[in-house]
């Protein structure tokens, strides 16, 4: 026997909906989805429709300005959420156009495959029935991944925002420097499903830490040792402050002005600091060799 449908899924929203209102809206959604051809749907379809309802109601609730008040009947708030999902979809499409137009000087197969797959999201995304779903394959790993709490068009928006941030950062470097860096960092960077931002960001932070030119992406031997010394400072607060300052300097030198781009690089710098401190404390030889590769 199948498990019962979780009508209580909408209880996750801030206002706990009445069972009658949820049932009535789900019945209306089922009727609209089947276009009168069927009185019933499989349980999975009903769950997906319910998920779409919950997503849109939450989207309306999170939205800043809407003509529909937060205490309006469920159906009105749901359709306001659908309208919001469509608005966000249009915005995401503009961001995709930008991602297609402004690519980094060096790309790999994973990057290009994902860029080619992203338009299918806009072809298949169904804000009215399944707004919580992401109907396309997204393989390219970002340096700072999208939070698991996002779904549907919210996920796509955040993914594209991070994608554009990474692409803009990479466009600040000469192609030859990036190729040389990737070959040292990954080897076969073209065919591996690897992130292109991470090596450049880490190299830029190491350069900035030792006051080497950031665009060169290659700190000298002494400069590299200085960077490691700062990152592995006995007081973690000092190290944290040093990498934040380095991220800020790198952003200034590369003219990456947006607050999000700065935060993104700062988070990457912090991750690098944690990893290097752990590595050098533990004396991991392999990691030392790996770091040496970006000198």
């Amino acid at each position: 026997m199948s498990e019962p449908i979780e009508i209580a899924a909408l209880e996750g929203t801030e206002s706990c909906e009445s069972l009658d209102a949820v049932t009535a809206l789900l019945a209306e959604r089922i009727a609209r989805y089947t276009m009168g051809d069927s009185t019933s749907v499989p349980l999975d379809t009903a769950k997906r429709l319910l998920g779409g309802m919950a997503f849109c109601v939450q989207l309306h609730l999170n939205g800043a300005a809407s003509a529909v008040p937060k205490d309006a009947p469920l159906k009105e708030r749901f359709f306001a959420g659908v309208a919001e999902a469509r608005r966000l979809t249009r915005r995401a499409k503009l961001m995709l156009n930008e991602a297609q137009r402004w690519q980094p000087p060096v790309v790999n197969t994973g990057f290009l495959d994902t860029l080619a797959a992203l338009p299918s999201f806009f072809k298949w995304y169904n804000a009215e029935f399944f707004a919580q779903e992401i109907p396309c394959s997204i393989d390219y790993p970002l340096c700072q991944p999208v939070s698991d709490s996002f779904s549907g068009v919210e996920y796509m928006l955040d993914y594209l925002k991070r994608w554009l941030t990474e692409s803009a950062f990479l466009r600040a470097f000469p192609r030859e420097s990036l190729v040389e860096l990737y070959e040292q960092y990954y080897g076969d960077y073209e065919d591996l499903l690897v992130n292109l931002y991470l090596p450049a960001a880490e190299a830029a932070i190491l350069c900035a830490l030792s006051n080497a030119p950031v665009r060169a992406l290659r700190p000298g031997e002494g400069q590299h040792a200085e960077s490691i010394r700062l990152i592995c400072a006995p007081d973690e607060a000092d190290a944290r402050n040093a990498v934040f300052m380095a991220a800020k300097r790198a952003c200034e030198e590369l003219c990456s002005g947006s607050a999000f781009a700065r935060d993104y690089l700062e988070q990457t710098a912090l991750d690098l600091m944690v990893r290097l401190r752990a590595t050098y404390t533990a004396g991991d030889v392999r990691e030392r060799i790996h770091i040496a590769g970006i000198e």
């Binding site: 199948s2 069972l19 049932t23 789900l26 019945a27 019933s40």
Partner: protein
């Protein structure tokens, strides 16, 4: 949404079903077919069971009126076996609905079941014991009983 609210919602649905079935009785009475009080309750409960067993959700109007409408003028459907037949057809309907992967509308599926039912002189076993493919092929090609039977002997792999 507590258990009490759930049982209240169920009760509302039962009341809706009762209204639908009363209307069906008025229509099927023309052909000498009516559901008793007990029969209506049984059909209502069987519908809930069948939906749960086949993993389907039906929140708005029920398919029962369409099913009754589709079969009530069959010359092979008699009052003595009306309730039992309806219960079997209802279960088979949801089964085939899943089998067809939502490719058939309710009306198309009911029409296919009805043709099979009449072709076998009012045998619910013939409807239940066939495959969706044979059910639809018979309707599409208008095969007579013998041809249909021969095909079923070889093709009824996914029989109910």
């Amino acid at each position: 949404m507590d258990r009490q609210s759930n049982s209240e919602a169920l009760s509302v649905r039962e009341q809706k079903m009762r209204i639908e079935l009363d209307a069906c009785n008025a229509r099927s009475a023309i052909f000498g077919l009516t559901l008793s009080e007990r029969g209506m309750r049984e059909v209502t409960h069987q519908r809930e069971r069948a939906l749960a067993d086949h993993g389907r959700v039906e929140l708005g109007r029920s398919v029962l009126p369409a099913l009754i409408e589709g079969f009530c003028d069959s010359p092979f459907l008699l009052q003595e076996e009306y309730e039992g037949t309806l219960l079997e057809l209802l279960d088979a309907f949801y089964y085939f609905k899943n089998e067809c992967g939502e490719q058939l509308t309710d009306d198309e599926l009911i029409a296919a079941m009805r043709e099979r039912y009449d072709a076998y002189d009012g045998s619910t076993d013939a409807v239940i014991g066939t495959s969706l493919e044979a059910l639809c092929r018979a309707r599409r090609l208008g095969l007579d009983d013998e041809e249909d039977l021969e095909e079923d002997e070889t093709d009824d792999v996914g029989a109910h």
